[in-house]
Symmetry: C2
Subunit: 213 residues, 2 copies
DNA sequence: GTCTATAGCTGGATAGAC
DNA sequence: GTCTATCCAGCTATAGAC
C-alpha cells in the first residue's frame, strides 16, 4: 500500500516510525490502565506529543486499537509460523500451544484485544484481521500433522487452549496453576482424538494429504 | 445486618424492593450497552428516578456492580444446587455443565461480571463472593461423585468448561458451535480421568466419603 | 427520599495560528 | 505536523430546597 513511490521513501518511513512510537506508548498505557483505559490525552502525554498530533497519525481511537491489533496479530502469526525445531508433529503441537499460552498470559490486554470482544464497537480492519486468519491456518496445519481434521475436534482444541488461558488469567494471574497443565491437556486430547477415527499420532497411518488448490 | 428490628419491617422491605428495581434496570442497561456501559444517569432514567435518588440506595457505581454480582451469584448457586432429577453421578455432571454453559451464554455481561475481571478496580464484597464459593463447592461435590478429587483434574475441568463458554461467546455468539460439544467434552474428560487413578465412573469402586467438619 | 441544579472532571475530537 | 486553546458531550457525585 502506497508502495511504488520511489522518491520520498524517507517520508513514509518517518511517518511510520512516528506511528509506531505512538502505538508503543499505547501498549505501555494499556498495560497499566487496562485495555479500556486507553485515553488519547494520556497517550499523547506519554508519547511526548500533544493530543492533536495523535490525530495527525490516527483518525480515531478505534484506529489506534486497530493498529495495535494489526501489530500484535502480525507478531503472533510470525511466532506461530517460526520454526519448531522438531519433525515430530505431536511435539510441534505441544510447542505450539505453549507458545500460544505464553503469548496470551504475558500480556493480558493484548490477549483481550486479539482474542476477546472486550472493546464495545471495535472490529479489526480486514488487513489487521488477515493475520489472525493465517494463525488459524497454522493451527489447522499442526492439527492435521497429528491426523486431526474434523472441525469438531478443531473446535474442541481451541476451546481447551482458550480455557487454559482464561482460567490462568482470571484465577491465578502471574502464576502457573493452569499453564502447568498443558501437557495433561494435550495427553487428554490426543487420547480422545484417537478414539474418534483420526490417526492422532504417528503410530497410526499418516493422514492422506489433499493437495491445496 | 440491621436485622432484629421487629417493627418497621415494612420499611426494610420497601427499601429492598426499591434497590431491587434499580438493580433490575441496571441489568437491562448492561444487556444493551455492555457491562462497562453502565451509567448512573441512564440507569436512573430507566428506573424512573433521578440520579441523586440512586445514591440514596447505593454509595457508588461499584456498589451497584456488587449488588448485581451478589444477586447473580446467589441465583447461580441456587441453580447449581437445585435437584438434578437423577442418581447417576455422571448424568449429574453432564447436567451441571449444561446448566453452567446455558447460564453463562444466555447473559454475557452477567458472565463477565461473575467470572471474569473486566471492570477495572471492581472486587465483589465478601458477602457477594461467598455465593461463588458455594457454587464451587457444589462443583467439587459433583466431581467427587464420579470419583474425581485430584485438584489438577478439577482445574482441568474448570478450564474446559470456561473454554467452551468463552469460545461460544467470542466466536459464535447466539449459536451453538461450541455448546453442542458438551457431551464430547465430558466423554473426553471422563476417559482421561479414568487413566489418572480415580474411579471416574460408577463401575469402579465408589469414592470413600470423608465426613465434613 | 426525592427532587432541581450543578460542581468538577475527563473524555474524544477540532479550529486555527505557526 | 505541531502546537495552544477550546468545544462539547459525557461521566460520578453532591449541595441544598422541599
Amino acid at each position: 500500500m502506497a508502495s511504488n513511490a520511489p522518491a520520498h521513501d524517507w517520508r513514509e518511513a518517518k511517518r511510520r516510525s512516528a506511528r509506531e512510537a505512538i502505538v508503543e506508548a499505547a501498549w505501555e498505557l494499556v498495560a497499566e490502565e487496562g485495555l479500556a483505559g486507553l485515553s488519547i490525552r494520556e497517550l499523547a502525554k506519554r508519547a511526548g506529543i500533544t493530543t492533536p498530533t495523535v490525530y495527525a497519525y490516527f483518525d480515531s481511537k478505534h484506529a489506534i486499537y486497530d493498529a495495535m491489533f494489526g501489530q500484535a496479530a502480525e507478531e503472533f502469526v510470525d511466532l506461530m509460523w517460526s520454526p519448531y525445531g522438531t519433525d515430530d508433529p505431536e511435539q510441534e503441537l505441544r510447542i505450539g500451544v505453549r507458545r500460544f499460552l505464553d503469548y496470551c498470559t504475558s500480556n493480558v490486554p493484548r490477549y483481550q484485544l486479539l482474542f476477546q470482544r472486550t472493546i464495545p464497537g471495535f472490529e479489526p480492519s480486514p488487513e489487521s484481521f488477515a493475520h489472525s486468519l493465517r494463525s488459524y491456518e497454522h493451527l489447522l496445519k499442526r492439527l492435521k500433522g497429528i491426523g486431526v481434521t474434523d472441525q469438531r475436534l478443531v473446535d474442541m482444541w481451541t476451546a481447551m487452549s482458550t480455557g487454559l488461558v482464561d482460567q490462568q488469567i482470571s484465577n491465578d494471574p502471574g502464576g502457573d496453576r493452569w499453564s502447568r497443565l498443558i501437557d495433561d491437556f494435550v495427553d487428554m486430547f490426543l487420547a480422545y482424538a484417537r478414539t474418534q477415527g483420526t490417526s492422532a499420532t504417528a503410530k497410526s497411518k499418516p493422514t492422506k494429504r489433499r493437495a491445496r488448490t
